[in-house]
């Protein structure tokens, strides 16, 4: 088989997919919301999203972070979570779901007036961990909680 032809075909397909995505408003141009880290939110892999959000440093597992989420979620579209930490000088809390199409769900930037606890609701594609990454005093810490997602609410 003529390999160069294959490559051109592939390249063409990738380009047209991108154009469609941009047209549908999927890809938000960086210039519109300067503060919104499009690179991190558009990443489809966990490590790429983490690198784009908080830099290359690997987060260290910490017992000072608790991730509260249900053991079993009957509806993956609405999963409550609570991330709480006793770490000092918390700058940000990011929440990831590794199996989602876009692993980065949300990131919270905290001022020093804040108590270091955030509650919200996220979507989960399937059974997975909810991963929290906390930036404290310039360093990264992480904790996670497994959530079993049973679509249809049959109790799995």
């Amino acid at each position: 088989m003529d390999t160069s032809r294959r490559i051109i075909l592939k390249a063409g397909m990738a380009a047209s997919t991108l154009a469609v995505a941009a047209g549908a408003g999927l890809l938000v141009p960086n210039t519109v919301y300067a503060a919104w880290p499009a690179k991190a939110f558009n990443a489809t892999k966990l490590d790429v999203a983490m690198n784009a959000m908080t830099g290359k440093d690997k987060p260290v597992a910490s017992a000072d972070i608790t991730v509260d989420a249900p053991d079993i979620a009957e509806n993956g579209a609405v999963v409550s979570f609570k991330v709480k930490t006793t770490l000092p000088k918390v700058e940000s809390i990011s929440v990831y779901v590794p199996v989602n199409a876009f692993p980065l769900s949300a990131s919270y930037i905290l001022s020093n007036q804040m108590e270091t606890s955030i509650t919200g609701r996220i979507k989960m594609a399937k059974t997975a961990d909810v991963v929290a990454v906390v930036k404290s005093n310039g360093k990264l810490y992480t904790a996670k909680k497994g959530v079993k997602v049973t679509l249809g609410g049959c109790g799995g």
């Binding site: 549908a24 408003g25 999927l26 938000v28 519109v32 919301y33 503060a35 919104w36 880290p37 939110f41 579209a77 609405v78 999963v79 409550s80 779901v97 989602n100 199409a101 876009f102 692993p103 980065l104 769900s105 949300a106 990131s107 919270y108 930037i109 905290l110 001022s111 007036q113 804040m114 108590e115 606890s117 955030i118 509650t119 919200g120 609701r121 996220i122 979507k123």
Partner: protein
């Protein structure tokens, strides 16, 4: 937007608690319309700003992975009864919204 967002802010004895819900579809851009087979364009909140007396206390950066009609709850220090709390948001289509509440 059919319904306006709701904010509750109250003194919990130790500090101030906030609970807020924003009515928003939070469309991921990945779902397909069952009738036409076309992708439904993504429509989700990207940024939420929370202010206490005009000073930023919390910025939320959200992606399509946040649930429909997003809920947000947190506690913060340094406020007293009667102070105002403002929460405003912007989505990926440039739409904006927000509301204010007095701490009770």
């Amino acid at each position: 937007m059919a319904r306006k967002m709701k904010i509750r802010a109250w003194d919990n004895g130790k500090n101030t608690s906030i609970k807020a819900i924003i009515f928003h579809p939070m469309e991921t851009g990945l779902r397909k319309d069952k009738k036409t087979g076309k992708k439904i364009p993504g429509h989700y909140i990207t940024e939420v700003n929370c202010e206490h007396n005009g000073k930023n206390i919390l910025t939320c950066l959200w992606g399509p992975g946040v649930s429909k009609n997003p809920f947000l709850s947190f506690d913060f220090n340094g406020a007293k009864k009667g102070d105002s709390v403002k929460i405003s948001w912007v989505d990926n289509q440039g739409k904006k919204g927000g509301s204010t509440a007095k701490i009770s």
